[in-house]
């Protein structure tokens, strides 16, 4: 599309034109003057006042008259007392063809950038892939390397120049961080300029985001609080320590280097550590693991989360953008851009919803599975009943397998291959009339879950 244009006056004009279209225009007898705008739109009404920089145009909507302000710089041509005012609905009066939505470039308006105008062949192609959408935002389950890879497949025919990962996640399973980072580092960065656009990137999502070539924030964005922990009971948690803490710090250090960030920053997001910074005259930020720097970033008592102001102050983020159009402006300046990759973006939403529905059925399926297996074990001497129960258990396993195939996240962390392998083995032995401890098999299989 043509690059997103901004400006209050253009939005105002767009609203006027859209309203006119909706209300079916105004009486042609009223329309005496015609303003042709540079973007192709035509406004009709009565010029009430003209000044050096603007024109007041009185338009009539139904029985109401409304005065609208149009800037001179916006106007291509003024036709006064037009003999034949164009009736509403004429092609040249249609705002929705391209002008109105393109004027603001905002998300959620009538046209996406790609629809707004035909871009030239040289327009920068930008794909936006949303990762996480609370409450469906858990890293590993809803934001997974497998699902990201699937989106990338769908992107291939679109040949994007820039891929923006819109991250909105409260974190999740630490083991997924390395996998996601690998996809970004090895499969995305060599092909595309890869950008992380942060609405919220907490914990595992923060660790993932710093792999990107560049980080931008939304104004309300936040990134940090990466402390790894596990739940040990109801409202009881335990932070990683010892070897597992060392391991995650090592991973964070490695990923920090991939993104070009000082590991001290991510360390302050993991453990209570002093962190301060000095900023040179040339703007370069030098991090210190004490409070000796000019800017005290973390006092050593808490865990660091950056907001958008902090992220800009310390050059962690390259910019702050509220909308796709704002971000595109920061990414490509005044150059033309077009949004591509809708199917890759849609896939993430579909994947999250399918995974959510599957998660809701998992408890029931596990219970059914256990009941069927118990029944088979209780009927070891009754071949017919035993076979029937084993058959029922295998049907449930089939359902679980199909869920695992649809959802890489669930396959990785809820329905690992080793679980299916163990259960198949148990069912085979039960079918053969062997006495097995099914609970033990289940426990062993599930205890390997990360």
């Amino acid at each position: 599309m043509a690059r997103a244009e901004q400006g209050v006056w253009k939005r105002a004009a767009a609203v006027v034109v859209a309203a006119m279209a909706l209300l079916g225009g105004w009486a042609s007898s009223f329309a005496a003057d015609r303003l042709t705008l540079k973007d192709g739109r035509v406004l009709e009404g009565r010029i009430q006042r003209e000044e050096k920089d603007f024109v007041y145009l009185v338009v009539k909507i139904g029985s109401l008259e409304k005065v609208e302000l149009v800037l001179r710089e916006q106007i291509e041509k003024i036709e006064r007392e037009a003999e034949k005012a164009a009736p509403a609905g004429k092609p040249d009066a249609k705002p929705s063809d391209k002008g109105a939505p393109a004027a603001s470039g905002r998300e959620g308006e009538k046209a996406k950038p790609a629809d707004a105008a035909k871009p030239s062949g040289s327009a920068t192609r930008i794909a936006f892939i949303p990762l996480g959408d609370p409450p469906l935002d858990m890293v590993g389950i809803y934001m997974s390397a497998g699902a990201l890879r699937e989106s990338l497949k769908r992107l291939e025919p679109e040949s994007p120049d820039i891929v923006v990962l819109q991250i909105n996640s409260g974190g999740g399973i630490a083991d997924e961080v390395q996998k996601l980072s690998d996809v970004i580092e090895k499969e995305m960065k060599p092909k595309f300029r890869t950008v992380a656009w942060i609405q919220s990137a907490i914990s595992a999502a923060a660790m993932t985001a710093i792999t990107a070539n560049e980080i931008y924030f939304m104004p309300k964005g936040n990134l940090g609080a990466a402390t790894m922990f596990s739940m040990t009971g109801a409202r009881q948690a335990k932070a990683a320590e010892g070897r597992s803490l060392e391991e995650i710090l090592f991973v964070m250090e490695k990923i920090s280097k991939r993104g070009g960030y000082d590991p001290l920053l991510m360390r302050a997001m993991q453990v209570e550590t002093e962190l301060s910074a000095d900023i040179d005259a040339d703007g370069a930020v030098r991090w210190r693991n004490d409070l000796g720097g000019r800017y005290k970033v973390s006092d050593g008592k808490g865990i660091l989360t950056l907001n958008s102001q902090d992220a800009m102050r310390y050059k962690f983020a390259k910019g702050v953008a509220d909308t796709k159009a704002d971000l595109a402006k920061l990414l490509v300046g005044d150059a033309e851009w077009v949004e591509v990759g809708k199917s890759a973006a849609d896939y993430q939403a579909e994947y999250r919803e399918a995974t959510h529905q599957s998660e809701l059925t998992l408890n029931r399926l596990f219970r059914d599975l256990q009941q069927a297996i118990n029944k088979a074990v209780q009927n070891l001497q009754n071949v017919e009943e035993r076979s029937k129960a084993v058959g029922q258990a295998r049907r449930v396993l089939g359902e679980l397998r199909s869920i695992a195939q649809r959802s890489p996240g669930l396959r990785e962390y809820r329905l690992p291959d080793r679980l299916f392998k163990g259960l198949e083995e148990a069912l085979r032995r039960i079918q053969a009339g062997e006495q097995v401890d099914v609970n033990k098999i289940l426990a062993e299989a599930m205890s390997e879950e990360p």
Partner: protein, 468 residues
């Protein structure tokens, strides 16, 4: 003991001068009749969005224009960015208004705002105001679905401003985590604001989760009795591990600071609102507040630093009396005065007329009749009814018994029917009662169990028939 009021007294002169000079509030101290009131000319600002503001320009810088807007006895000083202004006309001759016209319109619209009589039509050109009142329990009465409807309806009426009157609170047990309830409601406000509509929050009561919502707008005003806060609970967060607690607190602050930043507020205010145990002091330089997250030294107090929040330790701990009197300062809560001083509030208005005037929209307005408020009121009533119904159904399930002589399958069917009824209510109001679907998943599981039980009974019955 470091108390806000004590330090305030010693620095009162500095504070009053510093705050009052750039933005005197009509709610606090009406300005004396000045030259502008009697002058035969006015200054006119024409904005790029077509809006026109008239008054007397007090000061112009490269980036801002400060203008005193006067209408009858009402006056207000507002500062506008130069970037939004298209033209500035100075000393334009003033035409004499018809006596009594403005005051009559004012009286009519004020009553309409209180809902006592239908809106009277103000004179042509009067500002069009859509008023949405968010009242009741935040997260239940005030919820995403009716808010979306109300905003869509308000936007469709093409108002000059949408005023969101907040009179909402939330169960205190939510504490700071009311934030996540508020976050679910932000999107329609953000979209409305992005679309170019002016959305103003007017605070009567915005407590617990409701305290976060107004930050979505750059314009917050207070009623004189307005209160905003009640989120100072993060120090109580406990998952049994200090580091995990700090992580959880940090991410929560990150979310809340983000909302504040998006609305143009200083994120430094969030932590003192959220967590006891830290200091916050303020100094006003050039009328703008500067914050320091530390106890000011005696020297700094002399320089004008004022303690807003102390550490709440030992003698600094708020007493019951201070809490009752609204003088507590272990965490930061806003009343109209504090909000104004710290630039959270742009002004204090006791009625809609005054608010509209403070908004720079003139001395009269037309209150638009929209269906959105009805959607909110209906939702409020329906969710209360739904809650009663859920409780009744829960009692029925807990006390469920098979009737004497009742067929077991019939009894199970009755139980399933109650569960299905409960499920349908949870679905209708899922954002209030079951946002993540967990309760419905449990019900589904129970229904599945009942289905299997019925199947087993049927099978047993068939076996018995065969045996007979």
């Amino acid at each position: 003991m470091q108390r806000f009021m004590r330090v305030l007294a010693s620095a009162a002169a500095v504070l009053i001068l510093a705050v009052a000079a750039p933005a005197p509030s009509i709610a606090q101290a009406p300005a004396p009749a000045g030259a502008a009131e009697t002058a035969a000319t006015k200054d006119v600002l024409t904005f790029k969005n077509g809006r026109v503001v008239e008054g007397k320009i007090l000061e112009m810088t490269a980036s801002e224009v400060k203008i005193e807007v006067i209408s009858g006895t009402l006056r207000a000083v507002t500062t506008y960015p130069r970037a939004e202004i298209l033209t500035i006309e100075r000393d334009v001759p003033v035409a004499k208004p018809e006596a009594g016209a403005a005051s009559a319109a004012k009286a009519g619209s004020a009553k309409a705002a209180q809902g006592k009589e239908p809106a009277k039509k103000a004179s042509e050109g009067a500002a069009k105001v859509a008023l949405i009142t968010l009242k009741g329990e935040f997260g239940r009465d005030v919820s995403l679905t009716p808010i979306k409807r109300a905003l869509e309806d308000a936007v469709a009426s093409d108002p000059d401003v949408i005023v969101i009157k907040m009179d909402a609170t939330q169960d205190e047990r939510y504490g700071f985590d009311g934030l996540f309830v508020a976050e679910r409601m932000l999107a329609p406000f953000e979209e409305t604001i992005r679309s170019g509509k002016r959305v103003v929050f007017w605070i009567k009561r915005a407590m617990v989760g409701a305290a976060f919502l107004p930050f979505v707008s750059k314009e917050i005003y207070f009623l004189p009795e307005g209160r905003m806060g009640g989120i100072g609970t993060l120090q109580d967060f406990d998952l049994g591990d200090k580091r995990v607690n700090e992580k959880q607190i940090s991410l929560r602050l990150g979310h809340a600071e983000g909302i504040a930043i998006q609305g143009g507020y200083d994120p430094a205010l969030i932590k003192p609102m959220a967590r006891k145990g830290g200091w916050l002091a303020v100094n006003f330089r050039g009328g703008k507040p500067e914050y320091m997250a530390a106890k000011p030294t005696d020297e700094q107090v002399k320089e004008g630093w004022i303690v807003l929040v102390d550490d709440g330790e030992g003698p600094n701990k708020d007493t019951d009396e201070q809490i009752v009197r609204g003088k507590a300062n272990d965490v930061l809560n806003f009343d109209a005065d504090m909000a104004l001083r710290l630039n959270v509030s742009k002004g204090t208005a006791e009625d809609l007329d005054k608010l509209v005037f403070l908004l720079g929209l003139g001395s009269e307005h037309t209150l638009l009749e929209t269906k959105g408020q009805k959607a909110l009121d209906d939702w409020s009533k329906n969710t209360r009814d739904a809650l009663d119904e859920i409780r009744r159904l829960r009692d029925r399930i807990q006390g469920f018994q098979q009737k004497q002589g009742e067929d077991p399958k019939t009894a199970l069917g009755r139980r399933a029917s109650i569960l299905r009824e409960m499920r349908s209510i949870l679905t209708a109001y899922e954002e209030v009662f079951d946002p993540e679907g967990q309760q419905r998943a449990q019900i589904d599981e129970s229904l599945e169990q009942i289905k299997q039980q019925i199947a087993e009974i049927s099978k047993r019955e068939r076996g018995q028939k065969k045996q007979r």
